[in-house]
């Protein structure tokens, strides 16, 4: 089944969904329209922290074409005030999360720039925009706090009365005393303070939502982008108090998500309010500028890390003090992904006998933070792998060698970490050796000399990582398969692609199980007329969860088919065999195809399964060259050896790896959301200020697979949608620091822009001069 190209209607394609998408026939959120629809525009706060004294919408209301203007009072009256949270576990000393209210439209107070203050609903989008410009809001400014450490300090401006100290949740993992003891007997301790910077996920499709209300049924239809319809419905219901069965979520193509599109945003809830009150559908399409302000941000973790080593370079203990900037409100996913994922992988790929981490989530006058590709896993991998590289430099050991000495050995799997995770399997030494060979680790010294001759600084960096893929919000995944009279097979799943290519991967899984051509299988994701139980696509879980359920459903379909076919063939079910789309009576020539069977009787099967985390792992090695004159870094080599378990579609897996690595590279070299410390204004509010990765940033990724199959899934797969991102932050940063280390530079925080690298080189040189 290991395909690179499929053939559909005589055309070679990597994926079944491509024919639709390359011809402009995709259907994204803003492509939906309904008869009689109105258009919404949100007036947003231009203050980071202020009391709303008054809102004067008089002239806006009179503007021709304006239907109605909604404000926070309307949201509060309707009870659209409290977003869902999945933070249900207890924190330090039994602490319960303090989840602040967040009315769908800001009420009485704004806490970050961009917060919606009023919603204008009008006959056209332009009229709504014109009218929004006529609304006058009087604010009384309040003190602003942007930096999470400052927000924790005594006397800091307080965001919510219900969250004293701006600390909604504190958590600890590991054993503080044992870790302190390990540090006490350490021969060497390496310390780094690391910023895993705040970034903007920026899927290319801006947010859009179209809500219709059916007064007879009392139900809502919400056309919006999702990562899975169920999670969206659940959140909308929780936020608005509308029963889940009264909300129908409709989505087809989703233009990227990266965790950001798993959330039910306040705007959608405000639109539900308007659609019900006005009795007409209400459409809203965000601009990119609104997206920078209000689409959830990612990462924003500030971590002090310490690694204790013995005389032989064996790791004794790891201690982290982790501050997670959550922005002005808690998102449903943010605090969980920034705590649970890092604590699950707290030991990284190493045997570290003593672990302790303390997490503080903090509220600041900034846009809320949520899961972003990797959701805490790239963050913890970055922290550990930076510490390991720094330790190697400090004790004078080759960073590859230091890893070898401390890897969890293959025979130790399944490995229970000191924080209680059970890593299923991995061959870490094998990964490392394969990557070292592919990267020509031994030849680096010579390449470095060549670069020096050309006046350039060369560096190489490793990162070896493992991560837990998501077990899911819902306890199981359900998939249905239907066969049509012509033999075409339709698969239904909740898991919703945002570019991952489920239509192809799931079709291949079902086609393999049924022994029919992949092109005969069509996937319908999140079909509103075919509700199913199951999880969204997120946390690298879809092939493991829904993919495995596809396999089970296909097997079940065959078994049910045998029973049906037995009647038709006049034999006992045990006498029916199935192969390649046809049921045959053993010992006779009689046979019936899937299609013919379906033509005679409705023929479908539904299967469900519960699938826990898998543990993909990998070793990435990056090599960079820096032009010391300009500080420009060029990635000259990137090697990725990954254990994704069994691979179903190599092209798709490669593509996911490319995308993940480059998203990491984007963060390392350019991306950074910056707020003005004094005013709380967003300084990086457009693509002209926020440096997105562009073509040429990473020219090539040389990849090899090193699978150890997983038993979590009957397919043997491991989740891999986030692996590239998890490994690349540290591999690239380690490479840059390696290049700069001869100058006495041991750490620089991302983004490693030309100006920052050049500035560091200048500062280092002047230190040398002074010495």
């Amino acid at each position: 089944m290991d395909h690179h190209l499929l053939e559909v209607a005589g055309t070679h394609v990597s994926r079944l969904e491509d024919l639709r998408l390359v011809t402009g026939s995709g259907r994204y959120a803003s492509d939906w329209n309904l008869p009689g629809q109105l258009h919404a525009c949100f007036l947003r706060s231009d203050r980071a922290h202020a009391r709303i004294v008054s809102i004067n919408a008089g002239s806006a209301r009179k503007h021709p074409g304006v239907m109605r203007i909604f404000t926070g009072a309307d949201a509060v009256a309707a009870g659209h005030t409290r977003p869902m949270t999945i933070l249900t576990f207890k924190g330090k000393d039994g602490m319960q999360a303090r989840v602040p209210a967040r009315p769908a439209l800001a009420h009485e107070r704004v806490r970050c720039v961009g917060e919606p203050v009023a919603m204008v609903v009008a006959e056209t989008a332009l009229i709504a925009q014109d009218a929004a410009g006529l609304i006058e809001v009087e604010y009384e400014e309040l003190p602003v706090v942007i930096d999470p450490e400052e927000a924790l300090a005594a006397g800091a401006p307080q965001l919510h009365d219900s969250v004293p100290g701006n600390l909604p949740f504190e958590f600890e993992a590991g054993d503080a005393a044992a870790t302190a003891a390990a540090f006490a007997r350490a021969a060497h301790v390496t310390r780094l303070k690391l910023a895993v910077t705040r970034v903007a996920p920026n899927p290319m499709e801006p947010r859009a939502c179209l809500v219709a209300y059916d007064a007879r049924e009392g139900s809502y239809t919400v056309h919006v982008h999702v990562q899975g319809v169920n999670m969206m419905r659940k959140q909308l219901a929780a936020y608005t108090g509308v029963a889940e069965e009264k909300i129908r979520v409709v989505a087809r193509d989703v233009g990227g998500a990266f965790g950001q599109r798993s959330l039910a945003y306040p705007e959608y809830c405000a639109q539900m309010l308007a659609a019900k009150e006005l009795g007409r559908p209400v459409k809203w399409v965000a601009t990119r500028s609104e997206g920078f302000l209000t689409d959830s941000h990612g990462r924003a973790n500030f971590v002090s890390g310490e690694l204790a080593l013995d005389r032989d370079g064996k790791f004794l203990g790891l201690r982290l003090d982790w501050i997670a900037d959550m922005g002005a409100y808690l998102t449903p996913t943010g605090p969980v992904s920034h705590i649970r994922n890092p604590s699950t992988c707290l030991t990284g790929v190493y045997r570290i006998p003593a672990l302790y981490g303390r997490w503080r989530t903090v509220l600041t006058n900034t846009n809320p933070v949520a899961a972003y590709r990797g959701a805490g896993r790239p963050d913890i991998a970055y922290v550990i792998e930076r510490l390991v590289n720094q330790a190697a430099a400090e004790i004078g050991v080759d960073p590859a060698e230091l890893r070898r000495r401390n890897f969890i050995p293959p025979e130790a799997f399944p490995y229970k970490t000191p924080t209680g995770s059970i890593y299923e399997n991995a061959d870490l030494p094998g990964l490392l050796e394969k990557a070292l060979k592919l990267a020509d680790w031994k030849g680096f010294a010579q390449r470095r000399r060549q670069s020096e001759t050309a006046g350039r600084l060369r560096g190489i960096g490793i990162s070896t990582v493992i991560e837990n893929t998501g077990a899911g919000l819902f306890p199981k995944d359900e998939v249905a398969i239907e066969v049509a009279a012509d033999g075409a097979v339709t698969v239904y799943s909740v898991s919703h692609s945002q570019g991952q290519g489920h239509e192809t991967t799931f079709a291949m899984i079902v086609a393999e199980a049924l022994g029919i051509p992949t092109e005969r299988v069509r996937l319908r994701q999140g079909d509103e007329d075919r509700p199913l139980f199951g999880n969204h696509t997120g946390g690298s879980r879809s092939t493991v969860g829904a993919g495995s359920a596809c396999h089970l459903a296909a097997k079940k379909l065959i078994e049910q088919g045998k029973t049906l076919a037995a009647l038709d063939l006049g034999v006992e079910p045990s006498q029916v065999e199935y192969a390649n789309g046809t049921f045959r009576a053993r010992d006779s020539q009689r046979a019936i195809t899937l299609g013919d069977l379906a033509g005679a009787k409705a023929f479908s099967a539904t299967a469900e399964g519960s699938f826990s985390s898998t543990f993909p792992n990998g070793c990435h090695i990056a090599e960079v060259e820096i032009d010391p004159e300009t500080g420009v870094t060029e990635i000259v080599s990137y090697v990725a050896v990954d254990d994704c378990g069994r691979v179903i579609n190599h092209a798709i897996v490669e593509g996911q790896m490319h995308g993940g690595v480059v998203q990491g590279a984007g963060q390392v070299f350019g991306e950074h959301v910056v707020y003005d410390r004094n005013t709380g204004q967003l300084m990086t509010g457009s693509f002209a200020d926020y440096t997105m990765p562009r073509a040429g940033l990473v020219r090539e990724i040389r990849m090899e697979e090193h699978p150890t199959p997983s038993k979590v899934s009957p397919l043997g797969v491991k989740g891999m949608g986030e692996s590239g991102c998890t490994a690349s932050l540290a591999a690239l940063t380690n490479a840059v620091i390696d290049a700069l280390r001869p100058l006495g530079i041991h750490h620089l925080d991302m983004p490693l822009t030309p100006a920052r690298v050049w500035g560091a080189i200048q500062a280092a040189k002047s230190r040398f001069v002074r010495k």
């Binding site: 394609v13 994926r15 390359v22 492509d31 290319m204 399409v285 990119r288 798709i652 073509a695």
Partner: protein
């Protein structure tokens, strides 16, 4: 209001539009051609790229009125008689798209690039893609797709040495 006449994908249209209507809104909202996407509001992302009189332009940065009398080609006009355009073909072969949102603009930009330079080097491809952002692919397979598209366009379709 201004009355404009345009040819889009070979079909003539006459519309009375608000002076401030952008070309992209004419295409999407008036003509229902939603294959052209809007990915930003500051002219950087290139999702809205179409051809106006044979040149690749960002339809979010042009007024519909400015296109009066022009011949416009959008992504919907690229495939002919049920067959993909060679550049569309190349993107599907090379896995040059994931979510597909940037893809129509990307394909239109590449069509412009290859028209000016039928056999671009890697460097020229990277320079030629400066006006288009993609968040999913890391661009590696897009660069491959441009090369493959160049091969297919010059009739070298059998040289399918993708790997």
């Amino acid at each position: 209001m201004t009355t404009i006449e345009v040819t889009v994908n070979g079909v003539n249209y006459s519309r009375e539009v608000e002076d401030r209507m952008l070309l992209v809104n004419l295409l999407r909202d008036e003509l229902g051609l939603t294959g052209t996407h809007i990915g930003c509001d500051t002219s950087q992302c290139g999702c809205c790229t179409v051809h106006v009189d044979g040149r690749a332009v960002k339809s979010c940065s042009m007024l519909a009125a400015q296109a009066n009398g022009a011949e416009i080609v959008t992504i919907e006009g690229m495939a002919r008689n049920g067959a993909l355009h060679p550049i569309q073909q190349a993107f599907t072969e090379c896995h040059g798209l994931q979510c597909g949102f940037c893809t129509p603009g990307m394909i239109m930009a590449v069509a412009g690039l290859l028209k000016d330079n039928p056999d671009p080097s890697d460097e020229e491809i990277v320079h030629g893609l400066e006006g288009n952002l993609c968040r999913c692919t890391g661009y590696i397979n897009i660069v491959k797709a441009v090369k493959r598209g160049a091969e297919l366009l010059c009739g070298n379709g059998d040289k399918s040495s993708r790997r």
